[in-house]
Symmetry: C2
Subunit: 320 residues, 2 copies
């Protein structure tokens, strides 16, 4: 899943402005805190969510300062969740070996994430009116519930596809959806366009998480630039594994459950190959493609501009 | 430090309404999440911050729905920080022994705190205008920086009293101050009264944290209902220790530093006695009393109502 650059190129100037707002908002006169905030940089990704705010904004009208602020807010919220995801339980901590910052690692990560959440809402409160703040905080309510559900369902081998989709809808699609929707609304999109953009964002978000989950099983760490295979370690059931388990007989299922429960890391590679040969990876990919198709369909309801084309390219790039 | 009940009695009905808003805001149709949210109950304290919003509100005029909402918000923010404080680093985790929820303990605590933060800002965004949201999010920015500073200065034996006071101002007094100020402002307090109430809150907050820090060294767990002595374990330097170190010669200082660094728990009791006999506890208490006196002075600027008397009682009860 390599995001094509053209979509980002179109909003390159605005993304740079978003970066400036981001840094200005987090600036502090405490050098020691500034040092810690600098670590946030290592979590900075391709800024998909800000790009969606800006592209959906451009699709419906001119970009305003409120777009840049909202784009900064969604990136801050996203990074806060990434950083808090990084808080490890004791067992994992040990398994991964003691890092230099092991002593204060978890605590610093928690506080840094909190600082980002706080500044995100602080930026929100600087917007005119509180409609965006309402929508964004309602979204983080949903997002947090999604993360909690994901935690609750760890190691639950009866997790259904339906429930999995509900969880990723909350924890991932929600913020991507609201990024698109607010981008459009801030440009004064009419109700029909806003609804179509919202639908686009939701399906794009679903596809994004499914493909990301597949990547965790099949990807190359060097290419992706992040640690992969962590879902198996955490007994986080994703679509390929859910499909594999439901297509298995009881003895096969038992074997997989034991492999994951006992964290037999040495057998992960063999299991991943089984997921491929059994067609479970391909099944998940197909589901991902279906969401991308729905995202494309939703776009048919919006004006056929250059931005619409770029949004479509962006959705397609997820499954490329 | 036993909060007198009279102040709370005056706002008992409103505090009950705050509890209802709290529970309604966090209600969810996911039973598993509801179970986790129920755990929040165990962190619920005496609701000092909501009581201050309500008392300062009553002092300046009638209580409105916005008071109740703000009171709920400050309690949610406070509880989020309590829960996130509970996230332990690996070392501490081990020292305290594995609890039942050790496997997901840290992660659930992080997410639960996030959920509270999110709902706090969600409630904020339901208020008319965004002045309260601005002030509250600016406060959480400051609060997070205070928590980060506290973490950074752990084990730093040159910590000065001045710097300690700056840290507790940010991490504790900030939210208590804004609770008082918003309570007054929502009742339409004039500028002079609002300023006096703000000053009261700040000094009350400073005294509160100093006395809480003393309690951690001298208190009785059974009476306080919480684990004490954790500051020494965490090498968190508080006022009595800062005073002791600066009054010591270099060999004494060295001994204390080693005792704390090497976490010689068996010597903590002897060290606590030294803090008492050396007058360091008494010194900290005197500083606490000075802040209470300043809080009382600030109140002289506001109308002499029953609420003013209760606020004064509340401040005095900190050092009783």
């Amino acid at each position: 899943m390599q995001m094509i650059l053209r979509a980002f190129d179109t909003v390159l100037v605005e993304l740079e402005e978003v970066r400036e707002i981001f840094e200005r908002e987090l600036s502090t006169d405490e050098p020691a805190i500034a040092d810690i905030i600098e670590q946030v940089g290592k979590f900075r990704g391709k800024m998909l969510r800000p790009a969606l705010v800006l592209l959906c904004g451009k699709l419906c009208g001119p970009i305003k300062q409120s777009h840049r602020i909202i784009a900064t807010v969604v990136e801050m919220l996203h990074m806060a969740t990434l950083i808090h995801d990084d808080v490890l339980d004791e067992a994992e901590h040990r398994r991964r070996g003691k890092t230099i910052n092991a002593l204060h690692g978890n605590e610093a990560a928690v506080l840094l994430g909190d600082l980002l959440l706080s500044h995100a809402f602080s930026l929100c409160s600087q917007l005119q009116g509180n409609q965006a703040a309402r929508l964004l905080s309602a979204t983080t309510n949903v997002l947090c519930e999604g993360e909690l559900l994901q935690l609750i369902y760890r190691g639950y081998y009866e997790l259904t596809e339906e429930r999995y989709l509900e969880i990723i809808d909350r924890k991932t699609a929600s913020l991507i959806t609201v990024s698109c929707l607010l981008g459009a609304q801030e440009s004064g999109a009419d109700a029909r366009t806003a609804q179509a953009i919202e639908k686009f964002g939701n399906n794009m978000g679903m596809a994004f998480q499914i493909m990301d989950d597949i990547m965790d099983l099949t990807g190359d760490e060097a290419v992706q630039g992040k640690t992969l295979g962590t879902d198996l370690v955490k007994e986080k059931l994703t679509l390929p594994v859910i499909h594999y388990l439901r297509s298995s007989d009881s003895s096969q299922r038992k074997r997989v459950e034991q492999l994951l429960m006992e964290k037999r890391g040495s057998e992960y590679e063999r299991f991943k190959k089984q997921l491929i040969s059994s067609g479970s990876i391909e099944y998940a990919r197909r589901r991902g493609r279906e969401f991308v198709e729905k995202a494309q369909q939703a776009l048919l309801e919006v004006p056929a501009t250059q931005e619409r084309e770029l949004l479509e390219d962006l959705a397609i790039s997820l499954i490329a």
